[in-house]
Every structure is written in structure tokens, then in C-alpha cells.
């Protein structure tokens, strides 16, 4: 085996490990959403290729308002689906589309685009 082959091999395996770590094992930043004076937990989620922020922490039992702003026209993110609650919203580009939820049971609830490629998570504590 030549030197370049060895280097490519080490590089390839190292890069694969990096990909796996970055996408699967690295800790995702979660955003804790505070309750407003009116008792609503309100958050703005930017939609562009993904959800920013995509992991949000809420308190159980209080109303939640997620304001989605889709800053792209690409079709992928047109729908956002909360399948645990049979809820779907069509995100009109560049508009604020609110999704109202009230979750009483603590746990983790996912939300995703129509194809399930882009995902986010609500952590209810």
C-alpha cells in the first residue's frame, strides 16, 4: 500500500467519523421558551432548510404558540406536521404562521416537514 493510499484511508475513515459525530452524536442546542405575561409560551421558528431553533423546551400544561416564518419558497418546507397532535400547518412563504398547541404530558414530541426530512423537537418538562 502506498503512502497516498494510507493517507486517503485514514482521511476517509476520519471524515466518516466526523460526519457521524456531527449529525448523530453531537449535542443539539435546545432553547428554553419563557412564558409571557399573558401565560402563553411563544416562540418564533425560522424555516429555511431547517427549523431554527429546532429543539425547544416548554412547560407542560401552558398554551404554546409557535410562530413559523418560512423564509424560502422551496417546496420541501411547505408543510409542518405535528403528527402526535394530528396538526398540520401550511407555511406560506415569508408570512408568520402560528401553530397553537397545549401539551399536558411531559415528554418529547417531534415536528417535521411534509416529507420527514427536516425535523424539530418540542421538549415538554
Amino acid at each position: 500500500m502506498t503512502l497516498d493510499q494510507i493517507l486517503v484511508m485514514i482521511g476517509g475513515v476520519g471524515l466518516s467519523a466526523l460526519v457521524a459525530w456531527y449529525f448523530w452524536f453531537s449535542e443539539k442546542k435546545a432553547v428554553k421558551v419563557e412564558t409571557s405575561d399573558s401565560g402563553i409560551q411563544e416562540a418564533v421558528i425560522k424555516v429555511k432548510g431547517g427549523y431554527t431553533p429546532d429543539v425547544l423546551i416548554f412547560e407542560a400544561g401552558k398554551p404554546i404558540k409557535l410562530n413559523f416564518i418560512r423564509e424560502e419558497t422551496a417546496g420541501c418546507t411547505e408543510d409542518v406536521i405535528f403528527s402526535d397532535f394530528n396538526k398540520r400547518a401550511t407555511l406560506t412563504p415569508f408570512k408568520t404562521i402560528p401553530v397553537d398547541l397545549k401539551i399536558d404530558k411531559p415528554g418529547e414530541y417531534g415536528f417535521q416537514c411534509g416529507m420527514g426530512m427536516i425535523k424539530g423537537k418540542l421538549i415538554i418538562s
Partner: protein, 911 residues
Amino acid sequence: MSNNGSSTKNYPVHDPVCGMEVKSPSKHFIDMNGKRFEFCSDNCKSKFELNPHEYMHKQSSEASNRTTKDGVEKLQLPIQGLSCATCVNTIEKEIKKLPGIKSAVVNYASETVFVEFKNAETSTSEIISAVKNAGYQTGKSTLKLGINGMHCGSCVSKIEKELSSTKGIISASIDLGSESAIINYVPGSINVKEIKKVIEKLGYKTFDTSGVKPKEDGKEQKPARTPAQAGAGREEPVDENQAAREKEYNTLMHKFIFAAILSLPVIFFSYPTVWGLPEQFQMGSPILRYIWVAMSFLSLPVMFWSGAQFYTGAWAAFKNRSANMHTLIATGITAAFLYSVIATYFPSVFPKAELADQFFDVIFVVVALVVLGMALEIRAKGKSSEAIKKLIGLQAKTAKVLRDGKELDIPVEEVVLDDIIIVRPGEKIPVDGVLVDGSSSIDESMITGEPIPVEKHGGDDVIGATINKTGSFKFKATKVGKDTALAQIIKMVEQAQSSKAPIQKVVDQVSGYFVPAVIIAAILSFVVWYVVGPAPQLIYSLIVFVTVLVIACPCALGLATPISLMVGVGKGAENGILIRSGEALETAQRLDTIILDKTGTITEGKPSLTDVIVTNNFSEEEVLLLSASVEKVSEHPLAEAIVKGAIDKGITLVDPSEFNAVPGHGVEANVNGRKIYLGNLKMMKKFNIDLGGLEEKSTHLADDGKTPMFVAIDNKAAGIIAVADTIKADSKDAIAQLKKLGLEVVMITGDNVRTANAIGRQVGIDRVLAEVLPEDKAINVQKLQNEGKVVAMVGDGINDAPALAQANIGLAIGTGTDVAIEASDITLIKGSLKGVVLAIQLSKATMKNIKQNLFGAFFYNGLGLPIAAGLLYPFFGVLLSPLLAGAAMAFSSVTVVTNANRLRNFKAKIN
């Protein structure tokens, strides 16, 4: 103010003429129509006397809302349906249960509630729901209005403030994002026109959210209408999402055309040997090198304009530590670009001259094809959601309402409960209601899926959004706004389309890992080809790397289930079948037993009187008079048949006393001082009645499928009254179809074994569960489930609710406008059993479609990825070109959507 007991209470009332607040009791008052009207002065009083009707109506529905400095709000709210003075207490008590209520006084005469409350502790809407809890309606209407010209949060609060301080408006909430307001108001006190005026006075424009939207420059923007829709008198709502989709499609098509045109010369000069170009265009020539330079420049707009979404999408996902299709394409074309640029500008970097090759063609072709694929997908997806758009478009816009003897043309949002609405031939029925005057045939196909118009007469239910064909009639609104059948159908369909079929779980597990796994596979393929592959290794490694990235299609995988579900559920709604969720759909296709409730499901559920047999010297008239009188107070369908039978024979009924129903047995009561027992054999045995020869006669009746009921008068057998329920016209056919679908069909009924068997024989059901008490139906469902069967129960949503809930699938046969039946998984709006067949066939078709999609997507990726990685090369010397990979990827997701759209052509197979 009023002539009931609450007149000593000192609360503010309004002068019906000038609207001023007057302390009650006032010196100036008039008693009229049982109500007391109070005035600020004699002047107002005399005005009222001249024209009382003008002011009376005004007062009865007035609502107002004032807040003091210390946060105490004074609310005045009209209440509908106050029929007795005791109701007053019920409502007051219910409101006082709320926190922060200082006082709550209901005025029976003016049908108004006056509430003083701390607005920090409770809200107007809570008070309204308290009134509802007490069993009454407040005269509230909800208006959704578009508002143009809002730019910031302060505009929102400005309008909200102005609206909530306007008389007659209960609450207003404005959403900046959707440029719309939801306003709760009291109709009669203020109307839509006036509300619009309030907003427009502040400098904003208003538009009906379902109608024509004015543009910023004031010109009106006509909603898109197809000739067919225009012809049917329907207006398609302005759908911004559809417009956005259309725009995106056009942009993508332009991007595709741009990349496609440029790709032609690029492909031409990329394969000089293939086309047999002259020597000066072959590899290594200076002319070709200049051409490569030109390609490198041309590839920039292709990558960063035509393929811009790949980079923005990939970057956005990357920041979120996730990866998607864009990541794969962006990585693939970037790798090809970088390699080609180095080969073009720094060929000496490569140890061998042959390695200095370019792959610009990959960029052009992959970008062009994938962009085309995305465009086609948008088109196809638009079709998939057509069903729900059609449903939304069904809503009527206006209604002709009869108020104060005048016919008013008002927006459908302003229709309130108990409004009398006039419908002429060819017009759409605006809301749900009960026909009160006239008759007509009505086309209900859009809601029930039943193509034949239905004849309707006084007392029949009419459904909003259906079309009146022949006669004019008046009907009373019983459901408005979000309570109408159509609104509930739309909500249910939307929910079902957003639900997840259990089969999707596999995909969910895979999809989270899919894209990074593909990237790793591409890297490792590169390494393997570099280390053990044939020369030139670097070229092969790069080709394999790019091909693996490009061929993977996560979208096909992700789309497979939801897109079919969307089309399938929509198709169901078109046929009057409401499927609650993906799970219901998935269970429905693996059923093996179906239990049909007899009454109302197999039969019409409206039995009629057939026989009266007498014994012990009782006369026929006497027996019928006494039994029908007993049944007068019972709500059982059999009872209605007897009562109707007696009335038809001209018998005048009397009121029974000490009425008592013995569940599963019958009823007892006293009529004209005589003790009557009416019921089945168990009932007679319970009271030790000697039946003599009656039992045999009842057997004969039962053999004919009739339901005999024994009558005993003063502890002596008097005779038998038999009723029979007619079998629905298509029940027999539908049951045969269900059997053909491989289902075991079981009938369940409270009838005796003989009657039940007779009906069973007539419709072709072998297994009959008879004499089942209503509360035992669920247990019988469970028994069948214990036999290891997947059981569906078909019944009405009220009496059969526990059994529907117990069954693996509960199918509720809808009754008129009640469509959102909680206990059911599938609701059939139309009462026919054919709907059950259709529902099961549709579930099977949808699941088959989902499976095809999933198989296709898994098969495609499972086969495509190894081939792209070069697995066939050692055996056949075949290596996939990245160009082909791009084509395959682009059309795999289009194929999935197109396959799902095939479901739109689903037709029930019913003979």
C-alpha cells in the same frame, strides 16, 4: 325593569331609544309584550310609543362592554332561548362560579345578562362559555376578516384596541402574519359592514378572507377562476399557498431551462471521443483547455443560480446539525466542480496527465435534472391536496335571511342560530338546519357522495353547502360557523391528513440516519476505489463518490406514506367517508370480521306498525290506544312506530302516568287508571303474565322478521303489537360485497333470536347475535376479538358508541349533519352500507399504494446505492454514470407522487 322577581335589583339598563344608561327602576317605563322598557326621559318614552318595534328589537340584542379604571368590566350580553324565570338562576349561578365576578344579573324580560367582573381574573369568553354551560346560547358571531396595510405590532394593538372598545364587539384578535382578524361580535348590535368601517377608519383596508383581496394600490385582484367553477357559481378562495407554489414552479422551470440549454454544449465537448471530434478538440489539446475554462465560468451561474437552493438548503440544515437531499446534491456537485477546476487550471498538480479530466457536465446535468424533478413534484403535489381545497371551496358565501319580515342578503358568517333562511332553486344552502316551510329535492353529492338528489320536506335536516335543485323552501339554522357539517368534515380531513400511519414508523427510523449514512457511504466508496480500484484510481473514486451522493433519494422515502394518505383520505371525503387517521386506514384494510348493528344500519331504523292481535276479549282499538299511550313518552324507535300507527288509525292518545322503562325488557305505565305492561317475553315472565296462545302467535310474527311486543292490561294478557323495520334497499348487495372482500359478517341486535334470524336470512348474514342488551354490545365485540379477530363495528354514533370504541375500527353511520362522531374511526356521512364497502376498499387501495411507494423507495435506494458505489464493477465491469444517477434521483420522487395521485382515480367496485 322586568316583571319577574329580580326587579328589585339595582343595575344599569339602557334606554332603548337613545342608548343612555339608566338606573333601574326608572320613573319612565312602558310594559309591553310582557317586557318592561325603561327610559331616561319622557321624551324618549314618547318616541318609543310612536314606533315601539323599531326600538324593541334593538334593545333585545344589544351588547356592550365597559371597563372602569380599577379593571372592573361591565358586560351586557344577549342570551337566546330563555324560556323560563328559573333559567335565570341557572345562568347566574354558572357565571358566579367564575373567579372575579362582582355581580351577575340576568334579566329575563330583555333576555340579557349584566355582568360586572375583574378583567384580570376572568374574561368575556369565559363568561360566554359559562352561559353555554348553563345550556344557553349567547348571540355571538365570529367574523374572519383580512386586513391589508398592517406593518408592525403597533398596528395590531391599535386595531385591536379600537375594535374591543366598539359596541357590539366581544373580542378581536389580529394576526399580523396572516393579515387577518378574528372578531367575535353580537349580530344585530353591529354588522360586518360596520366592523369593516371601524378598521377602515384607522387607515387600513379590509377584505373577505375567502373573497377578493384588494392590492396595495387599491385595485382589486380577481381570484383565479376556472370556467367550470364560474359556471357552478363557485368562487375559489384566494390561495396564497397555491400562488407561492405556482411561482416556485415557474422559477424552478426557468432554472431548469437555463441549466439544460447550457448543458448541451458542455456534454458535447465533454465526450470528444464519443462524438468523434477532430484532433484539436481531443483530450490534452489547447483548444479543449480553453473550452474547459469557458465551462468553468458557465458552471458558476448553474451552480449558484439554478442550483442555489441546494446550497442554501444544505447550509441551513448543516447549521441545525441535520442533512437532507440538498446536502447530498450540494456536496456532490461541489466535489465535481473543485476537481474539474483543479484539472482545468492546475493540471500539473496531478501525477499523471490522464487524471487531469473535468466533470463539468455532471454539474450541468445533475442540477438541470434535479431541478426539473423538484418542479414536477410541486405540480404533482398540488394535485394531491386538491380534495381538501375542493371542500373548502364548497362553503357558501352569502345567505338570504328573513329578519323582521324582511329578506336580507348577508354574509354567511353573520347567520346565527335559529335564523330563518330562504333558499331558491339552484342556490346553495348556506348552513345546516331543519326545513320548516316548503319542500325540494337537494343535491347532496358534494357532502354525502350520493349522486341522486334527495327529497326533503318539513322537519328534514338540510346540510350546508349542498345545492337546492327544484323548489323554494325556508329552513331554520341549527348549526353555523365551525359547527356545520362541512366545517367539521374539513377539520377531520385536515387532521387525518396530518396523522401518521403506523407503517410510517419504519421510515421515520430510517430517515433520521439516511442522509449522513449516504455521505459516509460515499466517503468509504471513495476510499475503497482509491485503495483497491483500477487505474486511474482518483478519477474512479471521484465518479463513485459523486454518483453515490447524487443517486440517493431521501425524498422518495419521506414522501411515500404521507402523500398517499393525503390522496386517500381526500378521496374518502369526496365519497362521504371520513377517515379519522392514518392508523384507522391501516387497520381498516386488515379487518377480518365486521359486525353490523341491525337497527338503522341494515334496516332503515324506522319501524312501522304491522299487526295488532288481541286476546281475552280486549278490543283492537283498546289495546292499541293503551299501548300507544304508554309509548307516547318513550323515545325508542319501536315506540314511535306504535304511536304513529295509532294516530294514523285516528286514535286519540292519553297521557300515561308512572311510566317506567325496564331496560332490555319493555315499559310499564298507568293509563286511564289501568296498569299496562308492554314488552318482550322476559317482561311478561317478570310480571307472571299468563300468555295463553299468544306465545305461539308471536313466534310466527318473529319468523316473518317482525318484532312482536306483548301487551298486558291489569296483569292480564291483552294481545300482541308487532312492528317491522324495513331493510335498506342496498343492504343485501353491500353485505354480499363485504363477504366477497373476505370478511365474516355478523349482525348484532337487541331483537329476539327469531326476528334477528329472519332479517339475517333476508340479507344473507349467517352469524347473528340476537337479544343483546345495548350495554352488552361492546362485550360481544370483545368476545369476537378474543377469537383473535380484527373486528369492525358498524352502528350509529350514539347508542353504539361503546361498541364502536371497543372495536378495532368503529364505523359510525352518520345521522344528518352530525359527522364528527367521537367514538368512530370512520364516519359514513351517507346512511348506506355501501359506504362500508367503499371505506374498506379505499383503505385497501390506499395501503397498497403506500406499500408500492415504500417498496419503490426502499428498492430504489437499496439497489441504486450499491450500484452507484460500483458493486457491479468487479463482476460486469459496469459503473453507473453520475448523469444517469441524477436522472434516476430526479424522477424517483416524482414517481412516488404520481403513483399516489393514481389513487385519485379510485372507484369503488360495487356491482
